[in-house]
């Protein structure tokens, strides 16, 4: 067994077939978002923002390049923790609450990931990261490791019932960093799927269960997202929904080695496509607000349609390739459940289309325009859009060849189109019958369940924390129902005779053991 920190097993970075696409994606997204941030942020705010942005970016890029468990974990945390500063940048009460929720879930996620990694290091006897996915299924605690990894991923990608986490973080973060979080941060979840979930070999139930989880998330997040009324929140729920699809792909590879190969391609393609498209959507929303001329706005809105269509999986977009790869992977699993999931996949696109329509409706809504360097912002955005259009198609690899070769078959074109058409139809009906048309009021606030829990907790804490009248320099303990008995127990224990006698009893116990 390698000692984790003797210098040989720790802090190694390298490139392999998994790290290259993610490294490329993360580098591009962090760089362009950083550029965008630099252009659009007032000079006074820049140092504070970049103090968090740069470490996060370093962690984000490092996590893709890490090739041992220790640096993976290190970079994973380095990316996730400073993001808290990005979320709370505006220092509003909402952003602070969002930050608190984010930090809590992140720390829980760190603990889960640490547990999984420690188990992996111990049971495989190596800290080398790339080998894990093939080895996991044969390990004694394969089920535990997989569960821990899934739980970590669930927190990262906003699996139901935690879907709110993404909308929360996107909504309150300044645009540039939000694009980075949308494009790169959630994709670390995808990276973790490729690094730490078993590639085949698990009992079949695992694949089915995870695929169902993914599909539920895809639908559930879409429903929640349609019911919110902040464009960034909608995008957040859309991310959760899309990552649900990625989870389906990862799930498909859990049990079947053959499906795992396909699933691998699907996850990479999907991550690449979705990372770029979602970053482009986040930036695009902001660019539209910044442009003042009517013509410029129209052009921008038209351009914004490209990533939106890509998400829906329209023909000729990156999403088409990704979805095709995904369907291949699910198809390869076999069995009733995967057949049902296969059908569900198409319907999930309806949800995505609905989300995109809602997003457009909200973006078109007149908001107060943000002044600033609109031209520079648009330029950066344009660069990103070009990548959205081309990257997935041009990526030199064999897993998109199948999709490309069958891109122009009539059946696949139809399969890609009908969900969008259905969504459009429903949308038209809603616009007529719902009060307020397509700009109806929100039913769900960003963060849904999480925000409710956090609000309840802070209300409870506020009640418990309320300082009582201070008498004679004596500050009273908190009076909440749980705290008082615990504090009282300690206070009672601290009395000399009790505590010292307890110590003597400990000494006696030790001596008793010694006489054994």
């Amino acid at each position: 067994m390698t000692s984790a920190f003797t210098g040989t097993g720790a802090f190694t970075f390298g490139l392999d077939e998994t790290s290259i696409p993610f490294l490329a994606l993360f580098a591009v997204v962090w760089l362009l978002s950083g550029l965008y941030t630099a252009i659009t942020t007032p000079a006074a705010d820049r140092p504070r923002l970049f103090a968090y942005y740069v470490p996060s970016a370093v962690g984000g890029i490092g996590v893709a390049a890490a090739s041992d468990a220790v640096s993976f974990y290190l970079c994973f945390a380095l990316m996730a923790l400073p993001a808290w500063g990005l979320i709370t940048h505006t220092r509003s009460a909402e952003s602070r609450r969002a930050g608190a929720i984010y930090l809590t879930l992140t720390v829980v996620g760190e603990a889960l990931l640490l547990a999984a990694l420690v188990l992996l290091v111990v049971e495989t006897g190596t800290t080398s990261l790339p080998g894990y996915r093939d080895a996991i299924a044969g390990l004694p605690s394969a089920a535990l490791i997989t569960t821990l990894v899934l739980a970590t991923i669930a927190l990262k990608i906003g699996m139901l019932p935690l879907s709110g986490i993404l909308s929360l973080t996107y909504t309150y973060t300044p645009t540039g960093p939000a694009a980075a979080l949308a494009g790169a941060s959630t994709k670390v979840g995808a990276l973790a799927m490729l690094r730490l979930l078993p590639a085949g070999g698990m009992p079949p139930g695992w694949a089915d269960a995870v695929m169902v989880l993914g599909l539920t998330t895809a639908f559930g997040a879409a429903v929640l997202g349609v019911l919110t009324d902040h464009p960034r929140a909608v995008l957040g729920y859309s991310s959760a929904s899309q990552m649900g699809l990625v989870l389906i792909a990862a799930g498909a590879g859990l049990s079947d080695t053959n499906a795992a190969t396909l699933a691998y391609g699907a996850v990479v393609t999907y991550a690449l496509h979705h990372g770029l498209a979602k970053a482009a959507l986040v930036l695009g929303d902001d660019v539209v607000q910044r442009l003042s001329g009517r013509r410029a706005r129209s052009v921008a809105l038209a351009a914004l349609a490209l990533p939106a269509l890509a998400l829906v999986g329209a023909p000729l977009t990156s999403g088409f390739v990704a979805k095709y790869a995904l369907k291949d992977a699910v198809h390869a699993v076999g069995g009733d459940i995967s057949a049902a999931v296969y059908v569900g996949l198409s319907w999930a696109a309806v949800g995505t289309a609905a989300l995109m329509l809602r997003f457009f409706a909200l973006t078109l809504q007149p908001r107060e325009t943000t002044p600033g360097n609109a031209r520079g912002a648009a330029l950066v955005w344009g660069l990103l859009l070009m990548l959205v259009a081309t990257a997935t198609w041009m990526w030199p690899s064999d897993w998109n060849q199948h999709a490309i070769s069958s891109a122009f078959s009539l059946s696949s074109l139809w399969a890609a189109l009908w969900p969008g058409l259905i969504a459009l139809g429903v949308w038209g009906v809603i616009a007529r019958i719902v009060p307020g048309g397509t700009r109806y009021r929100a039913v769900v606030e960003p963060g849904d369940l999480l925000t409710m829990v956090a609000r309840g907790a802070s209300r409870w804490a506020a009640r418990a924390d309320r300082p009582r009248p201070v008498a004679a320099g004596r500050s009273e303990a908190r009076s909440s129902s749980l705290a008082e008995p615990l504090l009282g127990a300690e206070r009672g224990y601290l009395r000399w005779t009790i505590a010292a006698t307890t110590f003597v009893l400990v000494a006696l116990a030790l001596a008793w053991l010694a006489l054994g």
Binding site: T497, T501, V504, L505, A507, L508, A511, W512, L515
Partner: protein, 228 residues
Amino acid sequence: MRDRIRVVPLVAAIALFAIISSTVLDLPRESAGLSEEMIGGAAAIHVNNVVTAVLLDFRGYDTLLEISVLMLATVAVLSLRDPRLGTRRRLTGTADLILRSLGEAVTPIMMVVAGYLVWVGSTKPGGAFQAGAVLGAGGILLALTGWVRPSWARHSVIRLVLSVGLLAFIAVSVTPILAGRTLLDYSDDMRHIVLLILESILTLSIGASMLSLFLASASGGEEDEEAS
């Protein structure tokens, strides 16, 4: 207020007694300990009293730290001294004739006894600690008769006396290092005279420490009127 009997501590104490005594009874009935090595070692360095040899030679490092413990306790007690108490305070007893004449009569004798105890330390039981204790007791007697004020440790001279024993011990123990030997590895030809001087200085410091420990928390007394 009378203390009531506390049952759990009582049971714990009884159990403690049971375990310790059974352990003691379980020890081998005969054990030479380290006495043979020690006696041999003491003979090699021509020290007649083995205990003295252990204290100053074999385990001299313990003794060095022990002196430190005593000085440390003195400093700790001095640090707790109530700063509001004046420097011109005397303990009660200045007017007590019996106490006064006793102090005048006994103190010189105690000093002589202290000197004897140092001298005798290398051959018979005795040494700096015993001598220091006697010296300290004499000092306390002087304090009770009003010769020494409770604030005496504020004088820099007294502070020097309090720490000179430790400093001398440090100097003696470091000297061998300069000669390329290890700490406390005295050279044989100088051993006796160096140790005698050291013990005498230590006696002074230990006596001063004892007196300071007493005076720092001695209560009562009256402000001296003469000065104001």
